[in-house]
């Protein structure tokens, strides 16, 4: 076989593999879209499920999902950002800092079901928070923490040295430089990290099933229990209650995750444009 043929075959295989990733994504989206689109009505989005077959809408689960994700973001952002500022700007680079980074990376790879179990034992039981949005948000924050922290750290390191020098050269202290120059300059990338982490949290099931419970309930206070969209989807499908509503829920969930991902991409692109 000639070189030309080998080359053609190699390119063909590469092309086919590339195509497969697109087909896989397309197939999932298309299938869920086709099965779910008929369900999406204002009633489905805004009303409560009722009856033994969970007919009606999924309103409370959407509220619970947004509630727990938002609360988790509020908990995680200050901690993660300040930890990253410490790591990137203040800590003496060495063993301790490497240990903290390693811990964050490992935390990111803990299976979420294990995180859920821990959240149940620690927040629900030991701290006595019960099945609640707060317990769910705290457990989810463990999941989001490493994502936001590493994104922030990288964003801070990407701020050019000479911009910091300009600030120091004007008689700014380290904290003034960090808070007035470095963090604002790093903000778009930090936001991107936060949004990606929120996308991850919206799609999380194992953690919230253990910590927020499964009660279909419109949560008002952080101490109220709730059922996330993912948990609702799981229950509907696994117990064969209402498979059509399950696809409707799945479609809404995908739209939300897609929204987070697209927002993150848009922010990153806008940032590249602004900084030339």
């Amino acid at each position: 076989m000639g070189k030309r043929w080998i080359n053609r075959i190699a390119v063909g295989i590469l092309w086919a593999c590339g195509l497969m990733t697109v087909v896989a994504l397309g197939a999932v989206i298309l299938y869920v879209f086709v099965r779910g689109i008929g369900q999406i009505t204002p009633e489905f989005i805004f009303t409560k499920p009722h009856g033994v077959n969970a007919e009606g809408g999924i309103g409370p689960t959407i509220v619970a999902t947004i509630y727990v994700t938002g609360l988790s973001m509020l908990i995680v952002t200050p901690v993660a950002v300040l930890a990253a500022v410490y790591l990137a700007e203040y800590a003496v680079q060495g063993r301790l800092v490497n240990a903290i980074r390693f811990a964050a990376d490992t935390l990111a790879s803990v299976p979420s079901i294990v995180m859920g179990l821990f959240g149940f034992a620690f927040f629900v039981e030991a701290m006595g928070l019960g099945f609640s949005v707060l317990s769910g948000a705290l457990a989810l924050s463990f999941l989001m923490l490493p994502i936001v922290m590493r994104a922030t750290e990288e964003a801070i390191r990407a701020v050019p040295k000479y911009i910091r020098w300009g600030s120091y050269g004007l008689g700014a202290s380290k904290w003034q430089t960090v808070s007035r120059i470095v963090l604002p300059a790093a903000l778009p990338r930090i936001l991107t990290g936060i949004i990606l982490a929120m996308g991850r949290a919206v799609g999380e099931t194992a953690v919230v099933i253990f910590t927020m419970g499964q009660a279909i309930y419109m949560p008002i206070l952080p101490t109220d229990p709730g059922r996330s969209m993912t948990v609702h989807l799981y229950t509907l499908a696994m117990e064969g209650i209402n498979i059509e509503a399950a696809y409707g829920t799945a479609l809404l969930l995908m739209i939300m995750v897609l929204f987070f991902n697209l927002t993150a991409r848009w922010l990153a692109a806008r940032n590249r444009r602004l900084q030339g």
């Binding site: 120091y168 004007l170 008689g171 120059i181 602004l274 900084q275």
Partner: protein, 273 residues
């Protein structure tokens, strides 16, 4: 044998103006590596002093000793003394942050902050506690006027500093420093990254500013040193791995027409560097 810089041979009184910076026997180290040795020099007020020499000769390192910018690099230290208006800038109780307000710095790469033109110039005054809008407006306008940028930007103050051209950005950075009213302006190759028209403007600016601000400029461009400076200091690292030293220092006209040291002559006539 360390040659004695000629400015010390010639009586300093010949040079008008009293010394602003007095440096005596300065050694500088990056960790174990000694980068500068035995620097002794007086920089007098209301003048432009140029530091020239080949790449890696320590002139920028020395410049950063003067506002303690090197403090930001871990493992650096100095021996010897540097006084500013008679006070030791490395003495106990001296806050490098306060020092850097008095000794402003302009960098090779124009480095406006990613914020509006107005906020760039107001950044320093705000740092140091100016909050009244009217007062800030006045400081910003004055600084931009002094930096010869006011006419070009007065109607676009809200626009991002990074949208200006390279030469305008550099003058914006100069305005930003002038807004905190420094006594000294350190310029580290301020013209090497901007276009020729802007170079002209920055050079004119230096001539205007020197009546109120002492200027020290590091430059690779000998014509520039000859054009803008009153005094010139020639630095040289003779062998790789050895510390750089100050070879000769004196009036610019003298350095460029009748240098005392053969190495200075070789450098300015283009035999190396």
């Amino acid at each position: 044998m360390t040659p004695v810089p000629t400015a010390l041979n010639a009586p300093l009184a010949e040079l008008a103006g009293k010394p602003r910076f007095s440096v005596r026997d300065l050694d500088f180290y990056y960790g174990d590596f000694q980068a500068l040795t035995g620097i002794t020099i007086d920089v007098r007020e209301n003048s432009v002093t140029a530091f020239i020499g080949p790449s890696g000769c320590g002139k920028s390192t020395f410049l950063r000793c003067l506002n303690r910018m090197n403090d930001l690099i871990p493992g650096t230290r100095i021996e010897g003394t540097i006084t500013l208006d008679g006070a030791d800038i490395y003495g106990p109780g001296v806050d490098p942050v306060d020092l850097r307000r008095r000794v402003g710095m302009i960098f090779q790469q124009p480095n406006p902050f990613p914020m509006s033109i107005y906020d760039n110039v107001a950044f320093g005054p705000r740092l140091h506690g100016v909050t009244k809008k009217a007062e800030l407006d006045e400081i910003v306008e004055k600084a931009l006027v002094r930096a010869n940028l006011w006419k070009e930007v007065k109607d676009i103050m809200g626009r991002g500093g990074l949208t200006l051209s390279g030469g305008q950005q550099q003058r914006l950075c100069i305005a930003r420093v002038l807004a905190v009213q420094p006594d000294v302006l350190l310029m580290d190759e301020p013209c090497s990254a901007i276009d020729p028209t802007s170079v002209q403007k920055v050079e004119d600016l230096m001539a205007e500013l020197k009546s109120t601000v002492t200027i020290i400029i590091v430059t690779h461009n000998m014509q520039q040193a000859a054009r803008v400076s009153d005094e010139t200091a020639f630095f040289l690292q003779e062998r790789q791995g050895e510390p750089a030293e100050l070879i000769e220092f004196g009036r610019t006209a003298e350095i460029f027409t009748s240098p005392h040291d053969r190495r200075t002559e070789d450098y300015i006539t283009g035999r190396f560097g």
